[in-house]
């Protein structure tokens, strides 16, 4: 998908420039952006390493594991079809915690494992089960508590207070997650009778 998206962006840009006469600006735009990408990554290295360093401590002291234990009662409410002791729950918990802490690379493997385990409980193998729909929407409603990347980018571009968006971001994330859960629960209630 990114393949066509990327090529499309470049072609549309150059085509538009041909009509608007911005061709010279386009050349500069391409070169400047490439340079800027490198500068951005340099700031990212600092902030991201700080975060992963901190998370490593949390991983070693089993703080992250303890947090996923705490999550269990809530997950029971979200996934009534999945037995609490089932492996799927463990992977879901790991995925959710990793997402909340902004550990994308840890979240995806756990999420894929969760899907695999949920599939073993799914009676119709080509059709998403109720638990899968809930997991996916919950996951995609954005769970991240602190957007470390955004803070890094803000400081790179000279923000006076890069972290001032954490609180508002937290609020917006809560709203989107609550909306996602509510929608799925409503749909589930509506077709409880005809589903499996």
């Amino acid at each position: 998908m990114l393949n066509y998206l990327w090529a499309g962006m470049i072609f549309i840009g150059i085509l538009t420039a041909a009509f608007t006469g911005n061709m010279e600006l386009v050349t500069n735009g391409a070169l400047d952006s490439a340079k800027e990408a490198v500068n951005t990554v340099i700031v990212m290295v600092g902030v991201l390493s700080m975060w992963t360093g901190l998370m490593k401590i949390g991983e070693k002291s089993r703080l992250i594991e303890a947090l996923s234990e705490r999550l269990m009662p809530f997950l029971g409410f979200l996934f009534p079809d999945v037995p609490k002791k089932h492996k799927a729950m463990k992977h879901i918990a790991a995925n959710v915690i990793a997402n909340m802490l902004g550990l994308g690379w840890a979240a995806t493997p756990a999420g894929l494992m969760a899907m695999k385990e949920l599939q073993t409980l799914n009676p119709h193998k080509e059709k998403a089960s109720r638990a899968m729909c809930m997991f996916m929407v919950f996951n995609m409603s954005s769970l991240q508590l602190v957007s470390v990347n955004i803070i890094a980018y803000r400081s790179q571009y000279g923000s006076a207070n890069p972290s001032e968006v954490i609180g508002p971001g937290l609020f917006a994330t809560l709203v989107s997650t609550a909306a996602g859960i509510a929608v799925i629960k409503l749909i589930e209630m509506r077709d409880r009778k005809c589903s499996f």
Binding site: G13, S61, L112, Y153, Y157, S163, G169, F171, V183
Partner: protein
């Protein structure tokens, strides 16, 4: 609303204290663990560098050509009624498709308006409450060969839309 700003300022220091204190109480060598983790973060940042160069270049071309301005102009009558800056429209859609491409657009907005402008703040909040729905869905469902996704897409889009609305609302209240 000032409470949210206070939370913002306390959040990171609090995370530091909790994690380090918990680590010490469990007898972890916190400094060594930090360094070990930092190496991973460094690799991660360097790994995204080629992607970022490629995408920021494409976004740079798209923006300097004026194509994004034309798009914003077309949609602005609708978005203005919703109190939504039309400059954010391309990013709002791109966000659903690709995380790195939307990062390119985000940085472009930061450069143009500054991170402390209303647009800069709104876009920061919005980026932190939305997800790459299409990308995530295709990866997760494809991995277990599920073709009928039922109401997943609708649910995820509603959740993201609610997040965008909440971002506009909270930013208007605090900085508007």
């Amino acid at each position: 609303m000032q409470l949210l700003i206070v939370i913002s300022n306390l959040m990171l220091p609090l995370v530091f204290v909790i994690i380090i204190a918990h680590g010490l109480s469990k007898g972890i060598n916190v400094y060594d663990a930090f360094i070990e983790g930092a190496v991973e973060g460094m690799k991660c940042a360097v790994d995204i560098m080629p992607t970022l160069i490629g995408l920021m270049m494409a976004v740079g071309i798209l923006r300097s050509s004026g194509a994004l301005d034309i798009l914003s102009d077309i949609i602005s009558p609708i978005t203005e009624r919703l109190h939504y800056p039309s400059e954010l429209v391309p990013l709002t859609f791109m966000r659903l498709v690709s995380s790195s491409a939307s990062t390119g657009l985000l940085l472009d907005l930061f450069r143009q308006y500054g991170p402390d402008s209303y647009i800069g703040r709104l876009v920061s909040v919005m980026m932190s409450c939305t997800e790459t729905v299409f990308y995530t869905m295709s990866i997760y469902f494809m991995s277990v060969k599920i073709t009928k996704t039922r109401y997943t897409l609708a649910g995820a889009l509603i959740a993201n839309f609610a997040g965008v609305l909440a971002s506009v609302l909270i930013c208007k209240l605090i900085w508007g």
